[in-house]
Every structure is written in C-alpha cells, then in structure tokens.
Amino acid sequence: MSPIIEVRGLSVVFDGFRALDGVDLTVERGELRFLIGPNGAGKTTLIDVVTGLTRPASGEVLLAGRSLTGLREHQIVRLGVGRTFQTSVVFEELTVLENLDLAAAFRRPLLSLARRRRGVSETVAEALETTGLAGLADRPAGVLSHGQRQWLEIGMLLAQRPEVLLLDEPVAGMSRAERERTGELLTSVARDRTVIVVEHDMEFLRRYASQVTVLHEGRVLAEGSVEEVRGDPRVQEVYIGRRKDDAVSAGS
C-alpha cells in the first residue's frame, strides 16, 4: 500500500526566492509526524502546497498515490485533507457551534444544505467537547480570545473528519495545561488517521512526537526520532540554539 502522503522533489519559487527547494517527504498512514525548522524554513509553504493554496514550481504531492497537482483547495479538502492556519481564521459572525457545523457538513449534498439545521450532530458535539468550547457554543466566534480561536480551528478540523490533518503551530499561545490536552488529542487522533504538525515548542515535541522532519532553507535537513534530531549538531546549530550560560536548553 502506498504511503498516504508522498512529496516528491517539491520546489516553490517566489519572485526568484526559493522557499522550497526539492523537498521529499513520505508520511505513512496513522503517523503523527512533526515538522520543525527555523523560521522561514518553508514549513507553512509546504502545507500550503499540499492543500492547494500555493502552486509548486516543480515536483508533486501524492495523496494515497493520487497526484494533487492542479486541484483546487476545496477539491483537496474533499479528498480528505484538512488543515489549520498559523494565524487562526474563523467566521466571526457565526457562532462557535455554527462554525463547527459548517466544517462538518461539507460532504452533504448541496441541496440538503437548504434545510434548516436541527439539533447538533454527533460529530459537532464531539468537537465541542474535545475543544472545551461547549460553554461558548452559542457565542459568535468573533468574541473569542486568541487561544480560544486556536481551539475552535482545531475543533473545525476535527469536525471535518479528514484522513490527513495538517496543523500549523496549533499550540502557540496556549497555556501549558492546554498544550498537554492538545498533545493527547493529537496522539489519539493519529491512531486511525494521519497527523502532520508544525511546532516550535521543543517540550511539546519531546513529549508527543515520534517521527520528526527538520526543514531548513527549503530542504530537508534531517529526519528521524526526536532524540536523533535533537542530537543532530546541525539541527542544534540552526534551530535549537544554546543559551549563553549553557545551563538549560530551551523549552525543557
């Protein structure tokens, strides 16, 4: 069986600047893959290409063996690829519940959408529960704080029930307790689906990651287990860094 996501020789060029430069990446079904790398390494760009937001200059992305080249964003979503954004975007005038409901409803035929929503579907109820937003279900999403929006985005992604989930820095701006909740959530989701997470929080990485891919200047710099990657001097050099006093490493 082919891997669920296969990226082959992917390059992205912006006005002469190579944001991605021949990236190869293979993610198997049921994996919880972490994608790390310095700011500007091209992590978000990689997600953008997979989800159809950015067109690559060369290379291609395969979803379960099928090329995604040339598909539009919503078509890719319909094939089972969902994502969150680094800066969360939610529909501010709709309530939290409606945001989730819309995310869950895209597989319904268009005509059935013309009916009024009755009650709360199981998927949506579950998403409300998982994200801890149940108390805010009927508030418009516009009143949410930064962190609450982050959760809503995760909730919408879950409600979509995609095969592959791509999360761009989901725990940025979350408190420690919430990071833990997110980590556990992602681990459980990854049991029957595939999750790719971009994150800078090394503590989070250490606790929940198994496989890590490191991007640097548009290329894959290293790949392996958390320990391997953290031990890699190149990764330390460009990414993790060292304190002057050398006493504690970041995030631990």
Binding site: R108, L113, A114
Partner: protein, 375 residues
C-alpha cells in the same frame, strides 16, 4: 423564561401574518385604484430588494447592476404584451398593413420584418419562462466567470455597475429591436384581460403581493438553513471556506442567480402594473437607488430589504409630489443619516430601540417577576 422565548418566536410569524393580511385584504379594499397601483409598483421593487438583501446583506455581494435583470424580465414580458397587442389590433393609422403584425415602434424605426429574437415571445409560456430563465442564465454565466476568478467586494460592485451602464447603452443602441430610449409601452391587455380595467389592476396587485410573500418565505428559509450560514461564511471569509471543502464560487453564483431571478420576476410584474419598461429603469442610478433602499430598510434582515423598498418608494412619490426640487436633497440627506446613524437600517434601529427599552426596564424588575408577568 420559556414563555418569553415562545413569545419571541411567535413574533416573527405574527408580524408576517398581520402584514400579509394588511397587504392582501385591507389595502385592496381601502386604497383607490391609483394608489393601489403605486403600492403594487413598490412591491415590485420590494421583490428586487429582497434579492439584493439576499445577495448583499447575507452574501456580501454588492450588486449594483440589478436593474439589468429587472430589465431582462421586464423586456421579456413587454415583448410578449407588444406582440399580443400588434396581432390583436389592426395596426393603426401609420402602418401600411399587410405582412406579420409589427409592434408600433418597429414601424417607425423602419424595421420591416419581425426579428427572430422576438418571434418566440408571442408564446406566453415561453415569455414567462424567459422572465426568470434569462436573468438566471446570465447571472450564472457572469457569476461563474467572475467568482471563480475571485473577483469580489468592491471589484464586483464596480463591475456590476459597469454592466448596468453597458446594458443600457446596448438597449438604447438597438432601437429597432428594443424601442431605444422610449422602451416598450402602450400595452392593452394581459392574458386576455384589459389592462386599463381597475379590476385587472387590483388582480395584478394581489398577484404581486402574493409573489412577494412566497419569495420572502422562501428566502427566509434559505437564510436560516445551513446554506444561509455557509453564505455568511463566504461573505466573511471566502478563502477560509475553501478549506472547509466548499467552492465559494458555486455558493455565490447560486445566490446571485436567485437574486437575478427575483429581479427578473419583479420586472415582469412591473410591466403590466406600470405599463412601460424602458432603459431609464435599468441603469446605474435606479439600480443604486434600490440598493440604497435596502440599506435604509436594513440589509441584514430580509424584512428590512422589503421595508426599505416600500418606504423609499413611498417617500419618493410623496416627497416629489410635495417639493420636487428638494427631493434630491432629501434623498441624499436621508441616506447619509441612515448610513452614519443607523448602519443597520430601520430594522436595526427598531431592534436596538427594543433592546435599549428592555435594558432600561430590566434592572427595575427582578428576573423572577418578569417571567411571571408574562406567563
């Protein structure tokens, strides 16, 4: 608590029932034919406004070219009436007679043979179908072209405005085909009934009111459905909607086409009610005036759109009867005031007034008592 919400839930249908009764029973009895005709005209505009409310208020597509669709519907109907008239009457005075009957304006425009475009409109079924199908088709094509390319917001508004301008120029330029600036007028009968007859006019009014009512209910259903939520989502974050697996272009096109269909229907009703359809009704200014009416009524509520059209229509008639010179000032000033002081329009104003009242009353009455009082 339950009683309060129940009452609130009842209020919508309650108001609707009262308004419907007023429009369908009281108005035809109480108003003299001339005034009833005016009301029918306002209701025609209200149908267009309803479409604008849907497309703009709910969907964020500010369409400044609704006159085009109104015109397509109106001309489809006008062409039919003209052909009926031409074939029923022995062409009067001017024409030499003989050959297939030509509408009067073609005779004086030097057209000798009925244009192919016109011929099928002699059939009432075809004409009625075109009233809706024409606008819907054009809106769909234009919508798909434009929305798929992610033209939106101000761009879309300006584009539709240019469309209205171009459409009028085209209509005016094809005098032999369309009657030019004069448009189509001088109709005598509608489906065998004399248009000058008061009872025909009253019947027409009832039809207009019924159509408006049905469309209003349909539009409300749409807005309250999931599709309505989706529409709001598209309005506020088209790009994000794509990542929820929907194609915003399709959603927008559907709504744009619905609003176009409504405008077309309104145009078709307008023709027998007012007795004329001409390019002056379809251009940039009349299209904008309707949008303004929707804004005045309150674009975020469908009822606001309808209310706005009727109020502005009435205001225009009565102000221009009282002080013609000042009408522009009044219209402009009214509009500036509404936009700055009540951006949600009359309906929004009423809502916030109700809220303010409730807020003032609330502290005085303990919560537990409120429930009892109402129950």
């Amino acid at each position: 608590m339950n009683a309060v919400t129940n009452l609130a839930r009842l209020r919508g249908p309650g108001i609707f029932a009262v308004v419907a009764a007023l429009a369908l029973v009281v108005a035809p009895l109480a108003l003299e034919p001339f005034r009833l005709g005016l009301l029918a005209k306002y209701l025609c505009f209200a149908i267009v406004a309803l479409g604008i409310g849907l497309a703009w208020g709910q969907g964020g597509m500010l369409t400044l070219g609704q006159g085009v669709f109104f015109g397509l519907g109106g001309y489809a109907m006008g062409m039919h009436l003209k052909l009926v008239e031409a074939s029923s009457l022995p062409s009067s005075g001017s024409s030499s007679g003989g050959g297939p009957a030509l509408p009067d304006f073609m005779v004086w425009s030097g057209v000798e043979e009925l244009p192919a475009l016109w011929a099928p409109f002699a059939d009432p079924v075809f004409a009625l179908a075109m009233v809706v199908a024409g606008p819907v088709l054009i809106a769909t094509v234009l919508g798909l072209l434009v929305f798929r390319q992610r033209v939106r917001g101000a761009y879309f508004a300006i584009l539709t405005q240019a469309l209205a301008a171009a459409f009028v120029i085209l209509l005016v330029g094809q005098q032999g085909l369309t009657g030019g600036t004069n448009g189509l007028t001088n109709f005598f009968e509608l489906f065998g009934r004399d248009l000058a007859d008061d009872s025909t006019q009253r019947g027409l009014y009832i039809v207009v009111a019924l159509v408006l009512g049905v469309l209003y209910l349909g539009a409300r259903q749409l807005v309250n459905s999931r599709f309505g939520r989706l529409l709001v989502a598209v309005r506020d974050g088209e790009d994000r909607v794509r990542f929820l697996g929907y194609d915003p272009a399709v959603v927008k096109t559907i709504v744009f086409a619905i609003s176009a269909g409504m405008a077309g229907l309104a145009g078709a009703l307008f023709v027998p009610v007012v007795g004329i359809i001409s390019p002056a009704l379809l251009g940039v200014v009349p299209s904008l005036e309707l949008v303004v009416a929707v804004a005045v009524g309150g674009r975020f509520a469908l009822a606001g759109a309808v209310l706005g059209a009727v109020v502005m229509g009435y205001a225009k008639t009565s102000f221009s009867e009282q002080f013609a010179d000042g009408w522009l000032y009044l219209q402009g000033a009214l509009f500036i005031l509404v936009m700055t002081l009540a951006p949600k329009g009359l309906v929004g104003l009423a809502a916030s007034a109700r809220e303010a009242l409730a807020a003032r009353r609330r502290p005085a009455v303990p919560a537990s008592r409120t429930v009892k009082e109402i129950a």
